[in-house]
């Protein structure tokens, strides 16, 4: 009787562990190429969709340069960019989501339990993307201003339980991280390399519960843009290149 109980509890425990541990998927499984020239947008998107359909897990990028346009993150999926891996923005303006809504390399709308992690890089190639935008504006194929079309690196809208950790975000053409109307966002050990660019690094609006810890902003201007519509924001040990702690109070 006792052994039976034990068996049941062991099986139960195993089952719990199995369901709790997110499954890992290598990008190569989806034919995603690390050569830096193959445009992977559609393959990465298929991978994200597939993992979300399967109940969730991590999509893992190992060493290499992965060229991509806008991809949409879906519930229960974490994009993990390992050390030595870079998600690299494609220059052409038409490979991004565009002016409506969340224009970013990785965006999500109304999703839950999503994340971006790993010690890798998201490389925005601001100059190349800007050149494409300005060229097409000049030719009249698109209307508006350059900044309307420059993508953020990460944009989360109406999402819940978002976790961004460890990654380096660099050369964003626009604000590197955008959080709109999200709940329970944690941003940990994220480095933003913006250099001399006068863009804000982080934009927060309408959020409830955003916790940013141990982040570093390599830029000269004030990194944070918050319009005061958010609640429960906390910043701990988040430093600019001049050693200033960033806080919600200006």
């Amino acid at each position: 009787m006792n052994t039976n109980k034990l068996l049941v509890s062991v099986v139960g425990l195993l089952f719990m562990v199995a369901t709790l541990s997110a499954k890992d998927y290598q990008v190569s499984m989806f034919g995603i190429k690390s050569d830096g020239v193959t445009l992977n947008t559609r393959s990465i998107q298929r991978a994200v969709d597939y993992i979300s359909e399967q109940g969730g897990g991590r999509l893992i990028f190992y060493v290499g340069r992965y060229l991509t346009g806008s991809i949409e993150l879906k519930s229960n999926v974490t994009i993990r960019i390992e050390e030595g891996a870079a998600l690299v923005a494609v220059p052409s303006v038409y490979d991004y989501k565009g002016v409506e809504g969340c224009n970013a390399i990785i965006y999500a709308k109304g999703q839950q339990h999503i994340g971006i992690g790993g010690k890798g890089i998201i490389e925005g190639r601001a100059d190349a993307v800007r050149a494409s935008v300005e060229d097409q504006l000049k030719k009249g194929h698109i209307q508006g201003t350059t900044s309307d079309y420059l993508p953020a690196l990460i944009c989360m809208e109406d999402c819940e339980n978002v976790k961004i950790e460890q990654v380096t975000l660099q050369n964003a053409g626009n604000t590197a991280e955008v959080y709109k109307n999200c709940r329970h966002v944690t941003v940990d050990k994220v480095v933003v390399n913006a250099g001399a660019c006068d863009q804000k690094a982080v934009s927060v609006s309408g959020c409830d519960g955003l916790e940013m810890t141990d982040c570093y902003f390599n830029q000269l201007v004030e990194p944070l843009q918050s319009d005061g519509t958010s609640r429960n924001l906390s910043f701990t040990n988040c430093l600019t290149s001049e050693g200033k702690n960033i806080t919600i109070e200006k």
């Binding site: 034919g31 559609r42 494409s132 194929h141």
Partner: protein, 489 residues
Amino acid sequence: MNSLKKLIMMCLFIGIVVPTEAKDYQMTMFGIKSDGVTMNTRSIQKAIDFIHENGGGRLVFTVGRYLTGSIHLKSNVTIHLGEGAVLVGSTNPYDYDMELNAWYGLILANKQENIAITGKGVIDGCGRELANNFINQVYAGVIKDKLQLGRVANRPKLIYFRECKNVEVKGVTLMNPAFWTQTYDQCEHLLIDGITVHSRAYWNNDGMDIVDCNGALIQNCYVDATDDAICLKSHSADAICQNVEVRNNIACSSASGIKFGTASNGGFKDIKIINNTVFDTFRSAITIQAVDGGLVENIVVDSLRSINTGNPIYLVVGERREGHRSRMDNVRISNLYAEVPATKPDAGYVYEGPTEDNPRNISPSGIIGLADNKITNVTIENVEIVYPGGGNPFYAKVGLNELNKVPEMPKAYPEFSQHKELPAWGFYIRHVDGVTFKNVKLKALKKDYRPAIVLDDVHNGIFSKIKVSEPDAGKKDKIYLYKSTGIKK
């Protein structure tokens, strides 16, 4: 005053003329790159949308390789591929879109008008790599497919146009698709002129499929395909493929050269097949199949040359699904010259047609209906066919005393060889009412155990000026009648 009036008139006239002239847009205008590695899908799509929204025109590609995934062609837009320009299909399955949730394609259009693909350039589907990448994704479990016959069933075509009006495809070379090269489905006023099709990169690769179209002219094309080369189909029981002319084309295939079917749900009506050549082709030069409940009528095949091709003519009625009765009436084949080889005509193809239905001696041409659904009013006139002969009864035999042994095959997939051994070497005609043979020359190069022509359940026939030559034929019948009535010889 008068001159002012004139000026105003002139201005009005120019104002009317200018917007209707198709404008040219260079691909560079949209940041489309010719380097062969930049994925241009979205930029090309932007260009098409922009031209479409601005009154139409041509998107012009000059020398270079333009990598792309699926693009959607819109009304009044022409894709012009100049000489040296190659539109290169992505080898990534996920770069392709579907139309109607059913068909993948590189260039797609649905319910568009006045669309065209022109120029001396090339569309290259990179089909073998693409098809293999599909298989890899099936093995990875991301794409669901049964891998029946070892391949993914639905692979991207180069062109899929559905319900489009005024369609032109002119001059271009279409090569290496992963699947059927091009499908025009329920289109009106279709012109395919002077294109070259090289479709040998994978198998089950039809050269062109004209599906349920009304008004189509296919002319001056060269088609080389590892499945049916020029193929008329009818996918919908509520539609019919009609008013189609296929003229001055050259075709070569590891299946059939010119085929009606196999999908023949609605049928085929008022079709002319004029002055075409089929060579090195595994199956039939011309085959007309009514097996899915459709109507086939008023078909003219004239001036067809069939060189080194397994079978010159195969007309067949079947009933693949019970109760779906087809009808075949008024088919006229004239001025045909054919040479049938003793060996495999498509030998050396990368994807050869499958050797099947053996043992059988060289198959004759066939006109084969069903016992309760006869083919009616067939005319064969001014036809000369050279067969190898050499039919050996010790290899396979259906004697004249055992004609009932030839199976009735209403549900089978129709091919000229489906019955295996047939009892004639020139023509086997069964279940036909109303047949005229006039000035028909049949030549066997070697003695054959079978007669030239066998009629089984054939009624109301006229056979005039039939010339049969066969070495050492002896006294056997040239035309053997069985259960047949009203035959004039």
